[in-house]
């Protein structure tokens, strides 16, 4: 597969983000993706790695990467290709804009991974406050009537 004939618009870029509880390092992740020998542009980054290439190849690489630590590796799309001078930190001289959001959400990724590892079916309905009369009935049934009246 050659990237030469592909239009740039047909190519996907995905960020592979390692959660704080991940047992995989950035270099291990990049090495693993390199070992897949897929026609991809791979960039090692401070948060994990970035892969750029044809959508089906990127999908395969991302799936393989996720399998390394299912609950602590997170995937996000990226609009700009890797090393784009309009976004690259090296050219801008400061963190790129998207990094601030990534940094903010990164703080919760440990909890997200933990919740994913221990899934639980929950009700989607918000708990409602019970009517006063109903509360009074419950209190009565528990012999707390005197305390309520006070």
């Amino acid at each position: 597969m050659s990237l030469k004939n592909e239009s740039k618009e047909d190519l996907d870029t995905k960020m592979i983000i390692l959660g704080p509880a991940s047992g995989v390092s950035s270099s291990e992740l990049v090495q693993k993706i390199h070992m897949l020998k897929l026609p991809l542009t791979i960039k090692s980054t401070c948060y994990g790695a970035m892969v750029h290439g044809e959508p089906d190849v990127v999908k395969k690489a991302v799936e393989e990467a996720r399998n390394m630590d299912e609950f602590n590796i997170f995937i996000k799309d990226r609009g700009f290709p890797p090393g784009d001078p309009r976004r690259c930190r090296g050219h801008r001289g400061a963190a790129r804009e998207g990094f601030h959001q990534l940094e903010k959400e990164f703080k919760l990724l440990g909890y997200v991974g933990e919740a994913l590892a221990n899934p639980k079916e929950v009700s989607l309905e918000e708990p409602q406050k019970i009517p006063v009369n109903e509360f009074h009935e419950i209190a009565k049934s528990m012999d707390l009537n005197d305390e309520i009246d006070e």
Partner: protein
């Protein structure tokens, strides 16, 4: 199913939607079309005067062109959405989502569309995060059709 999310560039929401086998409608894919176009008119983002005009489908002419320009990016995502997850009180507003009025308008359109919608508050601690993740996974499971 195509799931719209708000904020439309959220890592947590996009990852959870993708894990469940659905298709997240992320803002980055809209931006991609703007930045990789070989005929870039107005670098670096290629937002042209055509975009606020496209935004007229979603916002009136009196609305500032910034809102209309943003809506030309968010709007097509809302149009194709089959379900939505809205996370209120997100503390971030960077890049193209850093406009309160565009955000309000996007959420309004998502609610108005009448599609299955899950509304949550952005979690701030472990318990809230666990609850939010469980609610999102339950919601996505109930949607089915992945």
């Amino acid at each position: 199913m195509k799931i719209a999310m708000f904020p439309p560039n959220s890592l947590i929401l996009e990852d959870l939607i993708e894990r469940s086998g659905h298709e997240p409608l992320s803002l980055q894919n809209q931006i991609k079309q703007k930045v990789i176009d070989p005929e870039i008119d107005s670098p670096p983002f290629n937002m042209t005067e055509e975009d606020p005009i496209k935004g007229l489908k979603y916002a009136a002419i009196e609305v500032p062109s910034g809102v209309r320009g943003r809506m030309s990016l968010f709007g097509p995502l809302i149009d194709v959405a089959e379900a939505a997850i809205i996370m209120d009180e997100s503390p971030f507003g960077f890049g193209c989502i850093g406009c309160a009025r565009s955000n309000e308008l996007s959420v309004f359109y998502l609610r108005k569309k009448g599609i299955p919608t899950l509304e949550l508050k952005y979690p701030t601690n472990q318990d809230e995060t666990r609850d939010v993740v469980n609610k999102i996974t339950t919601f996505l499971k109930q949607l089915g059709g992945a």
